[in-house]
């Protein structure tokens, strides 16, 4: 299968990429950025995308690598992940897997090893596949997106940045440069129910909880694969916040995972793989499992070791 014909340019730096992008836009070309290409190239082969111009930013070194994190600063240090950091690099970064066990969970079950070798975190966010694993983790952990454009740099909450199926708030002349994750509690986990052929989640859920004296003092939850974009189930988070950890608490919180999100009621996707009601059911179960594992890890139980499955 061939993609449609296109013109190709490779950027050597972020500034160079922004220039190429602006120039192509000035000529009125339909232009796309190419990072690892693990989502874009398949889409182009299926002719779901047929850009006239591809700007390859894959070699822009300044957008690669991880900085910050607990090792490098005081407690509360943020972790900044360059947009072109690959899944493989994240998966093999001991600071990332130790600090963000939910990310380790997701990276272990995301696509396959060859795809993880080239797919990038920035490409994943820009692609905004409604059934993509990592955005659920990043949402639950309150990640922000750093974006460079012709008019300077801006920062957006990932929750505001994702707008729908394959769509984000990224302007035509902008490039995602980094994802920043604030310090996170160790009680976190990601669980998914994969579609067996594609490995994409029919439903996936990430939970991050902080527990003090038997009470949940902080809870972040996000669900992916279920609606047009990964979302935070607000009622689930509300039930968990400041609640004493009782046997029934997690189940009653998870029961609301298909309830409401930022934009109102969750409207579940429905396709040949899973109906809307089935997806909502899976959302509840995956949320419950993620919460249970997150609580286990919060209490230092090693049976919830990151990336185990």
């Amino acid at each position: 299968m061939y993609t449609a014909d296109f013109a190709y340019a490779r950027a050597g730096s972020l500034a160079g990429a922004l220039e190429l992008l602006a120039a192509a836009q000035a000529r009125g070309e339909d232009v796309k950025l190419l990072a690892g290409g693990q989502s874009l190239l398949p889409m182009m082969k299926l002719r779901l995308a047929a850009p006239e111009t591809l700007i390859d930013i894959g070699g822009v070194g300044e957008l690669k690598g991880v900085t910050g994190g607990p090792a490098e600063g005081a407690e509360g240090a943020k972790t900044v992940i360059g947009a072109l950091t690959t899944y493989r690099e994240l998966e093999r970064d001991p600071m990332i897997t130790a600090t963000f066990p939910a990310m380790a969970d997701a990276l272990a079950v995301l696509a396959d090893s060859q795809v993880r070798a080239r797919g990038t975190i920035g490409g994943c966010i820009a692609h905004a596949d409604p059934a993509s694993d990592l955005p659920a983790v990043l949402l639950a952990l309150d990640a922000t997106v750093t974006i460079a454009g012709g008019h300077g740099t801006r920062e957006a909450l990932l929750d505001d940045f994702l707008t729908g199926i394959y769509s984000t708030d990224l302007a035509d002349d902008e490039i995602i440069t980094a994802i920043t994750v604030p310090a996170a509690p160790p009680g976190q986990a990601y669980e998914k129910f994969p579609q067996p052929a594609s490995h994409l989640p029919l439903a996936g859920a990430c939970a991050a909880v902080e527990i003090k004296d038997g009470t949940i003092c902080r809870a972040g939850v996000a669900v992916t694969g279920v609606a047009s974009r990964p979302y935070r189930p607000r009622d689930t988070e509300r039930i968990l916040a400041s609640a004493p950890l009782t046997p029934s608490l997690l189940a009653s919180a998870a029961a609301q995972a298909g309830g409401a999100e930022q934009g109102g009621d969750v409207r579940p996707l429905s396709d040949q793989h899973a109906s809307g009601p089935y997806r909502l059911h899976l959302a509840e179960i995956m949320t419950l499992r993620a919460l249970q594992r997150a609580v286990e890890r919060a209490s230092g139980n090693s049976s919830g070791k990151a990336g185990e499955r």
Partner: protein
Amino acid sequence: MPASTGPAERDVAVTVTVNGEPRRERVPARTLLVHFLREQLGLTGTHVGCDTTQCGACTVAMDGVAVKSCTVLAAQADGHEVTTIEGIGDAEGLHPVQRAFWAEHGLQCGYCTPGMIMAVRQLLADNPDPGDDEIRRGLAGNICRCTGYQNIVAAARAAATMLQES
């Protein structure tokens, strides 16, 4: 690191070091690495199965890491090193992973085999002593329509032993 190019072009000059030899060709920008290898260079050991990033028959090592060459543009490989199945061994001197597939009957029609072998090579580089579960998970990106995987897992395990003993 390959330098930046000039303005966008529909034909691109690509230099890839394939199995240790620099190969330079001018190709349409949309040329996939797998077609560059098979059609430009005649290296037909790398197969195309699904062409949709699922089956892994097209697996090659790029800068030493296994990737799916149907999902990499030849232009993205410009300035990089690629190792194909032809580069890891030959009839006189099979690679240990090739020997293990032979010994354990890890193939039937052989269509998936070059990709399987390149993927097992990566798996064992990352994890020299994997358990069966880890092998199955590590090969999640490779599909075989014949063997039922049992003997592929056995071959990966045998290869691990061979590599550790050598």
